[in-house]
């Protein structure tokens, strides 16, 4: 079984976002980056599928030199190969999908795993767009993947419940929290990853389709009233919910 996992390198969740002078992007100075959390879940699932069915796991990231950090982390977790589709510029999701699809078409994996969304632009479109470009089935927000002879039964999250979805390989799966608990790289894994090569090639070109006009901070939420320090404050809360917030 050949498994490919697409992984993105994104600002740490602790990051306080500062908008850069051009008002179109974030100020990257002092920002720590990490593997997008859903992609970590996708890598873990890839490793488990490989261990069960034998074969290999290849991770792919599209971006600048910095993305190597995230590829190294995947190598430390135990993947077999890492590919950097190099582009130092900014791409929209369509551009990312075009680049990934070109590489995946050549690789022709049985299983393609992505995260359900990157936590930078929270776009939730690259994985499904890649599936469409490759003419493959896809299962989004998946919390269970059960592969049996090329047939796959998945559980996927929907509002207020779960769907059972059946599909066939090759297919694309978008990992959601709950699919597994990603492993931490072992010390041995981290050491071994340092010497594993990362294949580099230019990312296939694409025209942008969505342009950022402006980036700004949302209006700051000011802290409100402290109504009290015990249950005697409850009547006032109920009154405010009724008179001011009008939610009851």
């Amino acid at each position: 079984m050949k498994v490919a996992v697409c992984i993105n390198h994104v600002p740490d969740t602790e990051t306080k976002i500062k908008i850069s002078a051009d008002s179109k992007s974030i100020d990257r100075a002092g920002v720590n980056f990490m593997m997008s959390p859903y992609d970590e879940i996708a890598v873990e699932e890839g490793l488990r599928i490989r261990d069960k069915f034998k074969g290999e796991v290849i991770v792919i990231s599209l971006g600048g030199e910095k993305h190597k950090e995230t590829l190294r982390k995947a190598l430390a977790m135990g993947v077999d190969k890492a590919v950097l589709l190099k582009d130092e510029g900014e791409r929209d999701s369509h551009g990312v999908a075009v680049g990934l699809a070109a590489e995946l078409r050549a690789l022709a994996p049985d299983v393609i795993l992505c995260g359900k969304q990157s936590i930078d632009f929270d776009d939730a479109q690259v994985g499904t767009a890649v599936a469409e470009m490759l003419g493959l089935p896809s299962v989004g927000v998946v919390v269970k993947i059960d592969i049996q002879d090329g047939n796959v039964v998945c559980q996927r999250e929907i509002e207020g419940g779960h769907e059972t979805v059946e599909t066939r390989l090759p297919a694309v799966f978008l990992a959601q929290k709950g699919l597994n608990d990603p492993r931490y790289p072992s010390l041995k894994g981290i050491m071994a990853a340092k010497s594993k090569p990362i294949e580099e090639k230019p990312a296939a070109a694409a025209e942008p389709r969505v342009l950022t006009v402006a980036m700004r901070k949302p209006p700051a939420k000011s802290s409100g009233k402290i109504l009290g320090t015990d249950k005697t404050a409850v009547p006032e809360l109920v009154r405010l919910l009724h008179d001011e917030a009008k939610v009851i």
Binding site: I19, E163, L211
Partner: protein
């Protein structure tokens, strides 16, 4: 100019996010003097279609086919793209529901269109649509412009208002051939978890954190939620401890929510949690630590013990609401 708005339904009812989408599309259509068609796909759904007139759809296109009884993302996306091409739709709106997110990227690829996902505002400026979407889990907002001739947008549930007051809609049957190859991914079964609404769709959320001390105490929050008709949410700490299911997690690696009211009980207000809920219209925090960061964004705070305050709140709300 033509606008197409996709409306999702489950169990014979449209979802609220579909009404919101049709209404928002109506507002855009008015600003651009465009025609608005709603689109409904499924089996035995023609009788439902008329209801969309109330939300401003003057015409509802219906793809009613027994093979489309269950959600099949490729077949649904093909149907949307086919109808969009037949009607020469310029703009396509879908709810950013799980189904909408499953379809929109495919529709966009099929139509060589750009997709702006999970928008929280769509405004027409100088004859052009500018969409606003949160990025970095809501820590920033971007205004975007889609540059392709056909443009696709998904709209975040619970943000746009679904006002009624529209009129009668003309319902039109569309015949769209379904390619059997598009039916390779099919939903076999749907399990609905609880009787309570999902956090992404709820108007009120009662959420609990580590301050709840254990899974056995969430009954207290469920009682409060039931009085308010609310969903139950949770912090990641609580989900990771196995006290609550994953689908209740609110935050940067959970659900992003925009309810009218969010009640945070025993939640400290870590950046990752706040990222997922700071766009709530009203936030109530109950926490015994007066310095907890959650109070910095709460409209109303009670510095107190959840075990004392929450049951009292439930009791008093019951009285006020006559339950």
């Amino acid at each position: 100019m033509t606008i197409l708005a996709f409306a999702e339904h489950r169990d014979g009812k449209f979802k609220k996010s579909s009404f919101e989408t049709v209404r928002a599309a109506r507002t855009v259509a008015d600003a651009l003097q465009a025609d608005l068609c709603a689109l409904v796909i499924g089996s035995g759904i023609t009788a439902l279609a008329q209801e969309l007139g109330q939300y401003g759809a003057s015409r509802v296109l219906v793809v009613d086919d027994p093979v489309l009884a269950a959600h099949a993302n490729r077949a649904f996306a093909s149907a949307i793209a086919t109808v969009a091409a037949q009607r020469k739709a310029d703009l396509i709106f879908l709810p950013a529901s799980q189904m909408g997110k499953d379809l929109a990227p495919r529709v966009a690829v099929k139509l060589n269109a750009g997709l702006a996902s999970d928008c929280v505002a769509v405004n027409v400026e100088n004859g052009e649509l500018i969409a606003t979407r949160p990025v970095y889990a809501g820590k920033a907002l971007v205004d975007v412009r889609v540059t392709t001739p056909v443009k696709v947008y998904t709209l975040r549930p619970n943000v746009f208002t679904a006002t009624t007051g529209g009129g009668e809609a003309v319902v039109e049957q569309m015949s769209v051939p379904v390619d059997p190859a598009d039916l390779t991914t099919v939903v076999k079964d749907i399990k609905v978890a609880t009787g309570r609404p999902d956090v992404t769709e709820a108007d009120i959320i009662v959420s609990g954190g580590r301050g709840m001390k254990g899974p056995e105490h969430f009954g207290m929050l469920e009682s409060l939620a039931d009085v308010l008709g609310a969903a139950v949410g949770a912090s990641r700490a609580v989900v990771d401890a196995g006290w609550r299911p994953h689908d209740e997690q609110v935050g940067q690696t959970g659900k992003t929510v925009s309810p009218t009211l969010y009640v945070a009980c025993g939640i400290s207000g870590a950046v990752q949690h706040v990222a997922g809920m700071s766009s709530s219209k009203y936030i109530v925090a109950i926490n015994k630590d007066k310095d907890a960061p959650i109070f910095q964004i709460a409209d109303y705070g009670i510095v107190g013990d959840v075990f004392e305050v929450v049951p009292e709140l439930t009791t008093q709300l019951k009285q006020v609401l006559g339950k």
